[in-house]
């Protein structure tokens, strides 16, 4: 028995992670690769700010600047923010609902590897003739005329990683609907689980339009079709519509999990039940729904006409209502609570004013007539960085600090965490606050340089200084992580001392089967309910019994890898090279062969036997 507890060699550990189907390990994979892409995207941001530090700079060329700018946006949204969100979801959601894993562990692993190979494919463009250079929105009128293979890398890379995201979203939907522990009703689910649920539904409905858009773009570029080519009777605006029908829900896909993380943090460190729980749930669902009805506000200046502009402007402003409900609920959660300012709580408190500022400029931009002035200026850049960095990134940093002990069993250093927090927050406001005014003074976005004596010098310099402060903050965080991992001081179940939800009732990190016996949930914040009755652990909902576990498998990796190979063939096939067809065939054979093996080979998993779960302290007789 318990051979799995043995110390493993380095190679065995690597193999373990390559084949794992355990949601906790997949969370770590998402965290590592998302962190890696976050650093790459951050470096690109630093190059942008260095180039714009002084007027008429020649640090990078105009063409290269376009590539950096495009890859900064694409990497940060698709390859950094999305996987980091999935990292926290994978680490926490099954624990919060009292499940032993997600509904489809194999698909969970497949989703990760598809994302990973898509991201790698996209970034290989740097070394293979140039990255995409048409902006992260890749508007068809620009991208169809882009030289080289940059846009093809964008189309194929995002198609592969988008598949992974869709799979992950469906997986979480099924998990949350089907795998809640006895007593965990919908209205007892923690807010982070609720936001994951809504976000997964958004992924389900929002990613197909992107897939369609990318397929049309692929046909236009690879096979000479004319969906977006105006000269040949196509319509370039269709891409904009398809992209934003996906793109607007996408920003809610990113922000709602951050809202969920902050809701957990506010309740935990105010040591109070979340104020207005049901209105929070309602607001989350409403934001998700409204998110689909507002996409055209990104296109006010394309000439939709006054009626469409007016309707979309009003719909957009309506989103401020549920968001306002949330902001006030968080404030009222802190009100009268016994607040403890830990590092996650610092992020949460700083998030409220920061995100509100981003929201207010959002309302300004939503006013269609005024938008004609702001459009394509640095004002827009300032706005979306205030909501995405001030909302999503602060949320992820808070979440990583908050859940680090649950994921790795160690506490991040408090002092270094505070240094990261203050430098990052101050750096962030330095970088982006001034950009509102640069925009209002007329600086257009996406320019690679600006002229001297136009009143833009000081603002841009301040912005660059701020960017370096943010980079310093992230560097300190990396050092913090290294120090913490080397020291490796293990902590117990509930290291923050005030855990409210199920994940804090089990060891950190949890055993690979999560719950020896599924817990019985008797109210909102179930662990807190038990604590208030003087208990130290959850009441089990079932007698101790054998636990059915899935087997590890390398197939998800090979399925994704086959697509990665085939994508290279498809990409160079445009140049009429003869060797590309075999590459496509080999790649697809790897993918479909792996799928075939998965289909025909019986894999029933294995059982952890009851006797192996019992020890001297715990005979499993409580239920």
């Amino acid at each position: 028995m318990s051979t799995y507890a043995n110390k493993k060699g380095f190679g065995a550990t690597i193999w373990d992670y390559l084949t794992t189907v355990d949601h906790k390990k997949i969370a770590i994979l998402y965290l590592i690769s998302g962190g890696l892409f976050f650093v790459i995207g951050g470096l690109e941001a630093m190059f942008i700010r260095i180039q714009l530090a002084i007027p008429n700079n020649d640090f990078v060329s105009a063409g290269f600047y376009n590539e950096i700018l495009t890859m900064h946006g694409t990497t940060m949204i698709f390859l950094a923010a999305m996987p980091l969100v999935f990292a926290v979801m994978n680490a926490v959601v099954p624990l919060q609902i009292g499940a032993r894993d997600v509904a489809f562990p194999f698909l969970n692993s497949l989703g990760f590897w598809l994302f990973f190979f898509g991201g790698i494919f996209l970034n290989l463009s740097w070394f293979l003739g140039g990255a995409p250079d048409a902006g992260w929105t890749s508007y068809a009128s620009l991208s169809l005329h882009s030289e080289g293979h940059g846009i093809d890398f964008y189309v194929l890379g995002l198609q592969i990683s988008g598949l992974g995201t869709l799979i992950a979203g469906i997986n979480f939907l099924v998990t949350i609907i089907n795998m809640r522990t006895p007593g965990m009703t919908y209205m007892r689910m923690p807010l982070f689980t609720w936001s994951t649920f809504v976000v997964s539904a958004l992924i389900l409905f929002a990613f197909p339009p992107l897939t369609v858009g990318l397929v049309l773009m692929m046909f236009d570029r690879m096979f000479g079709s004319n969906f977006f080519d105006v000269a040949a009777g196509g319509n370039t605006i269709i891409w904009e519509h398809l992209f934003w029908i996906f793109g607007h829900p996408e920003v809610y896909i990113l922000i709602l999990p951050a809202f969920g993380i902050f809701s957990e943090i506010f309740a935990t460190f105010s040591r109070k039940r979340l104020f207005g729980y049901s209105s929070m749930v309602f607001a989350t669902v409403l934001i998700g729904f409204l998110g689909f009805m507002v996409w055209a506000h990104h296109m006010f200046t394309t000439g939709l006409g006054p009626i469409a502009n007016a309707i979309f402007a009003v719909a957009t402003m309506a989103i401020a209502v549920p968001t306002g409900i949330k902001i006030f609920n968080w404030i009222f959660t802190m009100w009268g609570g016994s607040v403890k300012f830990t590092v996650p709580m610092l992020y949460a408190v700083a998030f409220i004013p920061t995100f509100t500022m981003g929201g207010v400029t959002g309302i300004m931009l939503a006013s269609a007539p005024a938008d004609y002035q702001y459009h394509d200026s640095y004002f827009v850049v300032a706005h979306f960085h205030y909501v995405i960095v001030g909302g999503v990134v602060l949320g992820l940093l808070a979440g990583i600090n908050f859940y680090w002990p649950k994921m790795f069993g160690t506490m991040l250093n408090e002092k270094l965490g505070q240094i990261t927090f203050w430098t990052f927050l101050i750096g962030f406001h330095l970088t982006f606050f001034i950009q509102h005014f640069l925009g209002l003074m007329g600086m257009p976005r996406r320019v690679f340089t600006f002229l001297d004596n136009q009143g833009l010098n000081t603002g841009n310099m301040i912005s660059t200084v701020g960017a370096f402060l943010m980079a310093f903050g992230v560097l300190v965080m990396v050092i913090n992580i290294i120090i913490t991992s080397v020291k490796n001081e293990k902590v117990g179940n509930d290291p923050w001392g005030d855990g409210r939800t199920l994940e804090w009732a089990i060891p950190s990190p949890p055993p690979f089967y999560n719950f020896k016996q599924l817990p019985l949930v008797r109210g909102l914040d179930p662990y807190w309910v038990e604590k208030m009755e003087g208990k130290t652990e959850m009441t089990p909902a079932e007698p101790l019994g054998d636990i059915h576990m899935p087997n590890s498998s390398i197939l998800p990796l090979t399925i994704a890898f086959g697509l990665f190979v085939a994508a290279f063939g498809a990409l160079y096939n445009m140049d009429d090279k003869t060797w590309t067809l075999p590459i496509i065939i080999v790649g697809l054979l790897i993918t479909f062969g792996s799928m075939l093996i998965r289909s025909v080979k019986d894999d029933h998993g294995y059982h952890i036997h009851k006797e192996d779960l019992m020890d001297d302290k715990d005979k499993g007789g409580k239920a």
Binding site: L204, A308, G545
Partner: protein, 111 residues
């Protein structure tokens, strides 16, 4: 397994009840199937027989199609049974989102 609950290992439990249920189910399916064929015949007839205006034929066919979809979902794909609430929620919210998008494109958006 101790952690997997089933209602009964004995397939003969409630056999009578199940038989009755199945017979009822079968009746519903046969009725809806007949109706669907009948609707299809009407649709073909409406196009085939001359004298009806387009403004009459098109909405009638679309209406019949909608009813057939409902039959398909509720009688053949068991959505009328218990425990399909979540499925219905997602189906109809997806439908709502999609239809509103189409509505937007056909009415207010210049494409």
């Amino acid at each position: 397994m101790a952690n997997e609950q089933s209602n009964s290992a004995n397939p003969n439990v409630d056999l009578k009840y199940r038989r009755k249920k199945n017979a009822e189910e079968m009746k519903h399916q046969v009725i809806s199937f007949t109706l669907m064929i009948f609707f299809t015949l009407i649709a073909f007839a409406a196009v085939g027989i001359e004298g009806f205006s387009h403004w009459f034929i098109k909405p009638v066919i679309l209406l019949l199609a909608a009813v057939q979809v409902v039959f398909q979902l509720y009688y053949f794909m068991h959505m009328k049974h218990k425990g399909h609430g979540t499925i219905a929620l997602f189906l109809f919210s997806g439908l709502a989102v999609g239809l509103i998008t189409v509505l937007v494109f056909t009415t207010i958006v210049w494409l």
